[in-house]
Subunit: 299 residues, 2 copies
């Protein structure tokens, strides 16, 4: 059975359509790797590509995209709203099917090594691939952005995982790593009081003592005049969707507030939703791999 | 995108391992068609194969299996507990992905025509493919079994859809048609009173005024000493799993009885479970085809 991996490379170019189109062409250039989606934002001056494919091949496609970006994007001259430190800014690998998180860590390390050797870009391994606690979080690695990177790399704790303490003159620095698929899941409340959504977000999110793999904030949906708990579920196996949902339900009840709906933004892995059905239907001894018909077809 | 079809041919042979193994080999013999499962029962003297694959190719595989069965199984001499009328008894096609029920009806009719022309077996179209109301239900077509088929075919209303009013001397008669995927879904109650499960089964099943696409009976699980509502969901889009489940829940409450679990038997399409998650999480504007990651990979 093929091992399927998702990869979401972020490039620091969101305005030059020729460069963006050429990256699209490279992303589509090999069999068994599919470009699911891409989006470019001129204000952010950034493009994000979502590819899925065979773990053996996807790294080659990503490498070719990075090689092109190295030759055509000068991050030292790039200006946009989004923080950035490299022409290829960040490359996360996500296990989708028939592959473990640990195997994705290996894939990320192999690509990191190759990129450093062949393209001479210093690499930080991040998230699951991180070699130190302070390198897990991308924001910490990227802090100071491209402008401060030359001096940051000289600090004791910021020796790159691959490469010397010296940025690539145009491509800067890249972070590569493995992480779990992220599900963007928002729950709408029948209240116009955002303070309630904020209180509940603090309860469910890991950073305040809630669920470890849930990030969340309160958001006001101005057009509907309702408050929302907006979440990123960063590991749906560690913190299932239904658990956050039911917690929001019973916490909201304290304020006489009810859930009136939810939103799933973008893509979710089937298992994130099927785990939820398994919970609500109280299915005994359910075997996701063996009992879901489509799982026999992804090979 | 490939159009994926499931086909579950039933053969009237469950004892002769050579014949069964040869059918297995034929089922596995072509690319893009996967044999998901097969089971043979010596008492029933019947073998059931579950194949999934490309709609263009699966009919060829099924035809080759039927040709082999025609040459090697004599249904007029076959004895077993399961009712039967043909060496190949029944061939249902089920839409899985990227294909409609109507297209599966066309596939079933093309195969029926070919089987009649090349193998000289009279064919009844059944379920979605049926050409008359009394031909929808397989049990009605098969009533009288192989022994009564020669005279049944002479009756006004039993002219076969393809072929003459004359059984094949060894292969008998075959039913071919399209149907929706079936989900076997059982709900366990915290009571040892089977009459409660029976009452609830009558409420949820279509034949007594319940949900059109639900069949159900009460069953006693002797080893656990609990009663169960055992259902076949014959069209999970017409009657979703959660709807039957929640109805059982509120009907059971009348007797002070609760749901303690459920069982999903065999395979279910991902959508049957994801529809259920969509309901419980109250997801607004969910698009199954576009928002489930794996749907981009099945092509």
């Amino acid at each position: 059975m093929v091992k399927l991996v998702e990869c979401i490379p972020n490039f620091s170019e969101g305005q030059d359509l020729e460069i963006i189109n050429n990256l699209v062409e490279i992303a589509k250039s090999m069999p068994n790797v599919t470009l699911l989606d891409y989006s470019s934002d001129a204000n952010h001056n950034r493009s994000v590509f979502t590819l899925v494919g065979d773990s053996e091949i996807i790294s080659e496609v990503i490498f070719q995209m990075m090689k092109y970006a190295t030759d055509h994007i000068d991050v030292t001259k790039q200006i946009g709203e989004h923080p950035r430190m490299g022409a290829t800014d960040v490359v996360p690998f996500v296990p989708i099917k028939g592959i473990t998180s640990e195997e994705c860590v290996l894939i990320s390390k192999e690509l990191a090594k190759r990129v450093n050797t062949e393209l001479n870009i210093p690499i930080f391994l991040y998230e699951e691939s991180a070699t130190a606690a302070n390198r897990k979080n991308l924001a910490k690695i990227r802090k100071g952005q491209i402008e401060k990177m030359p001096e940051k790399l000289l600090l004791d704790e910021w020796q790159p995982d691959f490469g010397d303490r010296k940025i690539h003159p145009t491509a800067g620095v890249t972070a590569i790593g493995a992480r779990m698929p992220l599900v963007a899941f928002n729950v709408n409340l029948d209240t116009d009081d955002i303070t309630i959504a904020n209180k509940i977000a603090r309860i469910v999110r890991g950073s305040n003592g809630g669920f470890k793999y849930c990030k969340g904030i309160g958001v006001m949906l101005e057009d509907r005049n309702i408050a929302q708990v907006s979440m990123n579920m960063v590991n749906f196996e560690g913190t299932p969707l239904y658990r956050a949902f039911e917690t929001i339900r019973f916490e909201a009840q304290r304020y006489g507030v009810n859930i009136i709906g939810s939103e799933l933004i973008g893509l979710a892995p089937a298992k994130a939703l099927i785990d939820t059905a398994e919970y609500y239907l109280q299915i005994e001894d359910f075997d996701y791999n063996k009992q879901v018909l489509e799982n026999y077809l992804l090979n």
